[in-house]
């Protein structure tokens, strides 16, 4: 009886092309999802508010974001501010910052005057009332839940100096709101 000898193919080369295709698609997905606008948002823990409206900024509203945030902890095991790391209230003003578009403004008269003039310049790009020179640009204040109110008040004052009146206060919705159908 004649047997057919089977020759094992030794040089098996995996076809990389479908994998490269998939990798490209994945890369494209993650690149498009990387929201660059988040760079103006500092890391904060917002206060929870049950009756706040869901934040959906209108396209083209050109909203200004001002953050009131604490120093970032470099090492979670050895925090610079143990009170803040434990979720308590940090009373060291030097640890708190007001920042806008990645730029920090000191909590001094000069720093706050700079913030006011910067907001004034930004507000001028969309004047709603030319007579009173009032800006139509909205401004959202994103403050950490443990931030002292005086910092938020200074941002409100700077908004008044910059003639911006459309002020919004950022808050977080409770977890149960996440599961609610639209």
């Amino acid at each position: 009886m004649a047997f057919k000898t089977i020759q094992a193919q030794e040089d098996v080369a995996p076809n990389l092309i479908p994998m490269i295709d998939i990798m490209f698609l994945l890369l494209l997905f993650f690149m498009l999802n990387a929201d660059l606008s988040n760079r103006e948002m500092e890391s904060i823990t917002p206060p929870i508010a049950r009756h706040a409206t869901k934040d959906e900024p209108l396209p083209g509203s050109d909203r200004i974001t001002v953050n009131v945030h604490h120093d970032e902890e470099q090492d979670p095991k050895k925090p610079n501010c143990p009170a803040f790391a434990n979720g308590e209230i940090c009373r060291n003003n030097a640890h708190w910052h007001i920042s806008m578009s990645g730029r920090k403004y000191e909590y001094t008269v000069e720093g706050l005057a700079k913030l006011g003039s910067a907001l004034g310049e930004l507000g001028k790009t969309h004047i709603e009332d030319p007579v009173k020179k009032i800006s139509g640009r909205p401004l959202i204040i994103r403050a950490d839940r443990t931030a002292p109110y005086n910092l938020v008040q200074k941002v409100l004052e700077a908004a008044m100096v910059g003639r911006i009146y459309k002020v919004e206060i950022s808050a977080g919705l409770p977890k149960e709101e996440l599961n609610k159908p639209k």
Partner: protein, 156 residues
């Protein structure tokens, strides 16, 4: 897409391993930098555009609902006063009491023909922001439409 093609058409073999390495690294980078957008919310708190320093109020009865919030540094706790002298504890029961006081007050003002009465929050500088937002939230829950932040003039 990357495309196939047989080897006879493309006699020059390209080593794609290096490219795959780089794409893997890029993929890893963007995966790690991906932040899921948190569910943000907001309150609108428009600043006044036409009032400001307008002197003493003309009415004998001031049309406002005022809550004073301050921080007791010795006891390290929040103090809330509704109206003239009605202390409200910072507890869930206190929150309910505050809501009912705001609602009752708002009803009274509406009955007097002042539906746009503002809820004014007079907050001390040391009060943590979360307590302020809590009261804003209670005010919204009580049906208040106009919530304002009080600001004092600096003493020279």
């Amino acid at each position: 897409m990357a495309g196939g093609g047989n080897q006879e058409e493309n006699p020059v073999a390209i080593n794609v391993v290096a490219m795959v390495d780089i794409i893997f690294c890029l993929c890893l980078f963007f995966m790690c930098s991906l932040k899921f957008k948190p569910l943000d919310a907001k309150f609108e708190s428009w600043l006044p555009t036409d009032v400001g320093n307008s002197g003493a109020p003309k009415n004998d009865v001031i049309d406002e609902i005022r809550i004073v919030m301050s921080w007791d540094q010795q006891k390290n706790q929040l103090q809330r006063i509704f109206g003239q002298n009605n202390p409200i504890l910072n507890t869930p029961e206190g929150d309910l009491k505050l809501k009912s006081l705001i609602q009752d007050s708002y009803k009274t003002f509406k009955a007097r023909g002042v539906p746009n009465v503002p809820l004014i929050l007079d907050v001390g500088g040391l009060v943590p922001w979360k307590f302020v937002v809590d009261v804003v939230d209670i005010g919204k829950d009580a049906g208040m439409q106009k919530i304002q932040f009080g600001m004092g003039t600096q003493v020279k």
